[in-house]
């Protein structure tokens, strides 16, 4: 337990990072996925590829590009320093931005699927009932796809917990500032502190397992629910 307490700053930082990442991703992802699901232009495959890109790209590649783009010598990096007065890389903001890009597909994909499966009839019903698109989105469409929102949030959260390469690249290894659990663990193993490493690994394992179990339990209920609906529709 004391071993776990020693790593508390890293755990706290990781949970904070994952939570803020998920919140921001949902705020951006919901409108973006809605737009992309209804966008029928030529660039659709390109946008879909862009969303899926972080899935296939090694995190270190992403990290490298972010590092060069936001280094204090670069235009973006110096702009950030002028606005906020602090450096973008090797800061919490830096790893937050990295995480958002890194976990983007895990949040957007389930939402995109949900919006695409919704079909046009829901949208048409909302409009013929005289309900404005914004109210319809907030009070009808979001509640309908709630199971998908929960899975998107859980996947995004769990995926951010396991982030390593990108954070190491862009955030470095500053305890209490950019040192997340996975990096702290690497440090402990490097310095042969196996007891702390065990505690931390177990903690990470349990959290991931619990969140995924909850996710699948919820999804199963949602599936059962829709199966009942289909059954009802057939009768």
């Amino acid at each position: 337990m004391s071993a776990l307490l020693e790593s508390w700053p890293a755990i706290w930082l990781t949970l904070k990072l994952a939570t803020i990442t998920v919140v921001i991703l949902l705020l951006i992802g919901l409108p973006f996925a809605w737009w992309l699901a209804h966008y029928k232009g030529k660039l659709k495959p390109f946008f879909e590829a862009l969303v899926a890109l972080p899935l296939v790209l090694p995190p270190t590649v992403l990290g490298f590009y972010l590092l060069t783009a936001f280094s204090p010598n670069s235009y973006l990096g110096s702009l950030w320093i002028t606005i906020t007065g602090e450096q973008f890389i090797f800061s919490f903001n830096g790893i937050l931005f990295g995480s958002i890009i890194y976990s983007l597909p895990f949040v957007i994909q389930p939402l995109l699927t949900a919006f695409s499966q919704l079909g046009t009839h829901v949208k048409l019903t909302i409009s013929t009932l005289g309900i404005s698109p914004i109210r319809g989105f907030l009070f009808i469409i979001l509640p309908i796809i709630r199971p998908s929102i929960i899975s998107a949030a859980t996947l995004g959260f769990a995926h951010t917990l396991g982030e390593f390469g990108l954070i190491l690249m862009i955030g470095g290894n500053i305890p209490g500032k950019t040192q997340v659990v996975s990096i702290a663990l690497f440090n402990q193993v490097e310095s042969l502190q196996y007891e702390q490493a065990h505690a931390l690994s177990m903690f990470l394992l349990v959290i991931s397992l619990v969140s995924l179990t909850l996710l699948y339990k919820f999804n199963r209920q949602a599936r059962l629910f829709s199966a009942q609906q289909r059954h009802g529709a057939l009768l």
Binding site: T128, S132, F139, I144
Partner: protein, 377 residues
Amino acid sequence: MEVTIDDKHKIVGMFGESGAGKTTMLKVMAGLVNAAQCTMHLPMHCINTKGRYNPCVYIGADSALFDHLNVAENLTLVIRHSESRQSNSLDLDEVLGLCGISSLMSKMPWQLSGGEKQRVCFARGLLTGKKLLLLDEAFSALDWKLRQVMHQVLRTLASKNGFRAIMVSHSLKELSLCASEVIVIEQGAVLNQMSIKSAVDYQIGSTQNVEVNKADYFCAVNGIFSHIDDQDSSLQVWLLSKSEAVSESQNNGQNKSKDKSRVQTDACRLYVKVPSVNSAEMNNNQFVSALLLPQKGEPRSFALNANQLSVSRHDNNQTSMVNCFPVCISNIIENTTGVVVSGRWHGQVFHSLITIKSFQTLNIKVDEKLYFVCKAL
């Protein structure tokens, strides 16, 4: 495709084969589909506006409720968020009474039967406050009895609450019970626009060389409720009205229909059975009871199938047929399945489908005076 609908027609039917473009037409009117080649002109209404500002609400046969909400939540959602609702729009209790769905409030959409779902969708449409209802086979899952109740609801809404409706159906019989005018659509074009009476006659004329189902021949009879029969409480007595269509007599106000009922004599009566309704239906639907006991002087249409009517040479009182009336034969159509004999009585045309054998035995000629007989409707 271009249609103009006169303001005097409160309920207009749209009729055509499947695939003729009825649904597309309605969806264009509701602003749900873009199709430049369809235009609808309705005086007093600005149609062809997009979606939510459109004055029409589209109610289809398979309109979906929101599956994650129960019936009550589905309905209150519209009350809370619909921008077309006004202070004088129908409130929840009125609509529940009209559609007989009070007992369904806590059910989820997937627990409803097809007919229940359609009534909830209709109720939801009424709650939007939009006064133009586009009904695309909206009652197709209801049994005939309940469907007639909903037609009655629709007519009441049209005459009392200023609603107008365009009703799509592939059944001319259904349309003849509520609509005053019919638009016939064929292969994406308006073939004809005419009164419901001529549409029924047109249908009969156009099928004379085709072997058709016997149920396809029918006539819409307009009557005015008079009283319950003195000897038999299961029989209603209706007097035949001379007006061409029910909704017209409704539009012309009370005075005229009173005049009409005064000139009706007992001679033009039609016996109609009091419909049997179980008590559960009675409790949750005021309009089922309205169907049971119509108001005195209330006008209504009946669909009378041609195979229900028989032809007789004599005014024969010694049969079980309670309805017997004299007709003047106006038209005879022979085809391979039988003979349709049309006769006039009090300005209304009736059709009787008889076999070729009895046609030859009776030796019927046009302009002859004969009797049509049938059991209580």
